[in-house]
Every structure is written in structure tokens, then in C-alpha cells.
């Protein structure tokens, strides 16, 4: 089935997008799983011939905004305690080993959602401004001003040797 096989192919990119949106790898994996579940439930809404990646990014981003806010507030520079609590998640051990946040993770996590999601789509996922603006459902000018602000903040945080 093309939908499932395309979705399987996209999984590495979806995990990457989730990681750049989230503040911890356990959040990222939860988010990715929730997005895939939602996509499978509402696949009838996807129009063949349109971009599945954009559709998936949109689902994931909306989930993050809708459901992630409270968790996001709890998470700052340290990984939340829930990293080890996901029952039945067989990747737990690896993830716990990887929860040490790097400078980049910390800098990204400090950005407002609206800047981070723009940065994630364009700089991490490599989308064009046009496609990223479409995923976020905002005008191009809004996207570029968020990008300018977010990038300025990241360059300040990460220093000249970014």
C-alpha cells in the first residue's frame, strides 16, 4: 500500500522533526507516535498526489501545539522524569542514554514555539519558505520574520562558532 510504505519511508524524517520540535527525546518519540496514530486514523483526509511529508509535518506540529504545551512548560534544560516511564517502549534504555541535551537542543528549546517550528521546517527539514509557510498556515512574510528572529537568537546563544 503506497500510503503505508510512503509513511514508513518518512519515519526517520518525522522522528527528526519531532526531535527538533520537542525538548527531550522521550517527548519526541511520544509526539512521533501520536502523529503516526493520528495520520493512520485520518488517512482518508490525505489527498494522493499532494505531499505526504507536508501533511505529516502539519499533523505533528498541530499535535505539539495542542497537546504539548503543558509538558513543554515543565521541560527546561533537564530531561523530564517521564523519560523512563513509557511502558512498553523498547527503546527506553537507548533514549535514556541519549537524553543529555546538547547546546543545540538547549538553544532550540529556549525559542518560542512559533520560531522553533519555522526553524525546524526550514533549517532542519530543508523545506522551502513557501512549503514551510503552507505547513504552518501562515503568510510568507510572517514565516520569514519568525525565521529572522529565531535565527538571530540561536546565533547569539550558540556563539560565533555556530
Amino acid at each position: 500500500m503506497p500510503f503505508e510504505s510512503d509513511l514508513l519511508t518518512l519515519l526517520p524524517r518525522l522522528r527528526r522533526f519531532a526531535a527538533s520540535l520537542s525538548h527531550s527525546r522521550s517527548d519526541a518519540d511520544d509526539l512521533c507516535q501520536a502523529a503516526v496514530e493520528r495520520a493512520l486514523r485520518s488517512r482518508d483526509q490525505w489527498q494522493p498526489g499532494t505531499r505526504l511529508d507536508s501533511w505529516m509535518y502539519r499533523i505533528m506540529r498541530n499535535l505539539w501545539i495542542d497537546e504539548g504545551r503543558s509538558r513543554q512548560r515543565a521541560a527546561r534544560t533537564f530531561a523530564p522524569a517521564e523519560a523512563g516511564e513509557q511502558v512498553g517502549y523498547d527503546g527506553d534504555r537507548q533514549i535514556e542514554a541519549a537524553v543529555t541535551l546538547s547546546d543545540v537542543d538547549r538553544a532550540m528549546a529556549s525559542l518560542p514555539d512559533e520560531q522553533r517550528e519555522a526553524i525546524a521546517l526550514v533549517l532542519v527539514e530543508g523545506m522551502s519558505y513557501k512549503d514551510a509557510a503552507a505547513v504552518l498556515d501562515i503568510p510568507m512574510g510572517t514565516l520569514t520574520s519568525r525565521l529572522v528572529r529565531g535565527r538571530g537568537a540561536l546565533i547569539d546563544m550558540l556563539g560565533e562558532a555556530a
Binding site: 503505508e4 526517520p12 527538533s20 527503546g91 555556530a162
Partner: protein, 231 residues
């Protein structure tokens, strides 16, 4: 100091500038160390972020996540998918075209000999059309049943090619080992004398414009893509 604003420097690093502006800023940078420093900072930031998160994409996808997709595939096969983007061109003066396509597709899908087979994966090119899509270069084609218009990579990855023949013209994209038709319109030289569509047809150009990731392949890129089996 330079008058080039942050948005322009950023768009340069993101490859979003038009050719003229890109050249202008790159020329300006050669005599403006402040500007070239800003450009380098933006370029490095992009590189650092993309390298950092690339590691996540390179990890093995957890089995639980894969199983979610694969498991669903077994239990609930997809149904009722619309294989083609018919809606996009079902307006305007397409009634005659629709009739012709109805006849043509109806005929060509009746057996193995036609250029298209209709299956549950949509419409798949076969026979001489598949052969043209597989092997013919837009930059070098002789007197063949189909002409290739453009070869291009679509957004999200994968090769697509526009084609034009006597009865059918359209756009097909590589799906695995096959060419899946994204759009089909009447060809430019069918026997009934319809001359309303070709690979220069506005509907085909609109489809290409909507799908194309960057620029159409040049002759070298096209040849390389063919060598690589359009992967």
C-alpha cells in the same frame, strides 16, 4: 556597514534568493567583511542544525513505531483511494478532452498492449510509454511514439517526467520500479485531430510547477538519473 538586511542574508543561506539578488549579495560580500561574516554565521547555523538533527534521522526507527504503520497495513487495507488528480482539470473546456480520455483509457486499459494499466496503485505506465519513460532522454530523442518533455525531481523526492504522445500526454512519477501517472490529458497529435494538449499544455505545466522541487534536470543530470534507474 552594508545595507543588506538580515532577511536577505538569511534567504541567501537558505537558497531562497533569486539568481540576480544572490549574485549581487555574493559580489558585495567580496568587499564587505561584515556582510561576509553575517553570511557565514547564517550558513554555519544552518549547517550546524541540520548536522545535529541528521543523527536522529540516521538512527534505526524503533520497532514499535514501524509496527504501528506495518500492523495497520495488515489489519486495515486502504480503500476508496482516488488514484488520479482528475479534479484539477475537470473544469474549463475539458469536456471533449474528458470524452477522449474516457475512450482512450477505456481502450488502452482493456489489454496489456496499451500504454496504461489501471490497478489499485493508480495508473501505471506500461509498454512503449514505460519504455520511453525508462530510457528516453529529453535531450536526445528520435522518432519515437512518445516525447519526453521535462525530467525533474519532485518535492519530497523522486523523479518525474512529462511526456507527450499521439493520444496521451501527461506527467508520470517513479514509484519503485514503475511509473505512476499523476496526470493524463489528450496528446498533441491524435487521429481525431485534437491538438489541444502537449507537454507544453498549460495543465501539464501547472502540474509540473506544483510538483517540481527545484529546476528541471539538464542533459547531464537526466543521463545520470537514467543510469541510476531513476532512484
Amino acid at each position: 556597514m552594508s545595507e543588506i538586511d538580515d532577511a536577505t542574508v538569511m534567504a541567501w543561506a537558505d537558497g531562497e534568493l533569486d539568481e540576480v539578488t544572490r549574485r549581487r549579495i555574493e559580489r558585495a560580500a567580496t568587499s564587505d567583511p561584515v556582510l561576509s561574516g553575517r553570511m557565514e554565521a547564517q550558513r554555519q547555523l544552518r549547517e550546524r542544525l541540520s548536522t545535529h538533527y541528521a543523527r536522529v534521522a540516521e538512527e534505526t526507527v524503533p520497532d514499535s513505531l514501524r509496527a504501528l504503520v506495518e500492523g495497520d497495513h495488515v489489519v486495515a487495507p486502504m480503500k476508496g483511494r482516488e488514484p488520479l488528480r482528475w479534479r484539477g482539470w475537470a473544469t474549463g473546456g475539458a469536456i471533449a478532452a474528458s470524452l477522449l480520455i474516457g475512450l482512450t483509457v477505456g481502450r488502452v486499459t482493456g489489454g496489456d498492449a496499451g500504454p496504461i494499466s489501471a490497478g489499485d496503485r493508480g495508473m501505471i505506465a506500461q509498454g512503449p510509454l514505460a519504455a520511453a519513460l525508462d530510457t528516453q532522454l529529453a535531450s536526445a530523442q528520435g522518432d519515437t511514439p512518445y516525447r519526453i518533455g521535462l525530467s525533474f525531481r519532485r518535492k519530497g523526492g523522486g523523479w518525474c517526467r512529462s511526456f507527450d504522445g499521439a493520444a496521451l500526454a501527461g506527467v508520470a512519477c517513479r514509484e519503485g520500479e514503475r511509473w505512476q501517472l499523476q496526470q493524463v490529458v489528450p496528446g498533441s497529435g491524435d487521429a481525431a485531430g485534437y491538438r489541444q494538449a502537449s507537454s507544453g499544455d498549460a495543465r501539464i505545466m501547472a502540474t509540473v510547477d506544483a510538483m517540481i522541487a527545484d529546476q528541471p534536470a539538464d542533459a547531464t543530470q537526466e543521463r545520470a538519473a537514467r543510469m541510476a534507474g531513476w532512484r
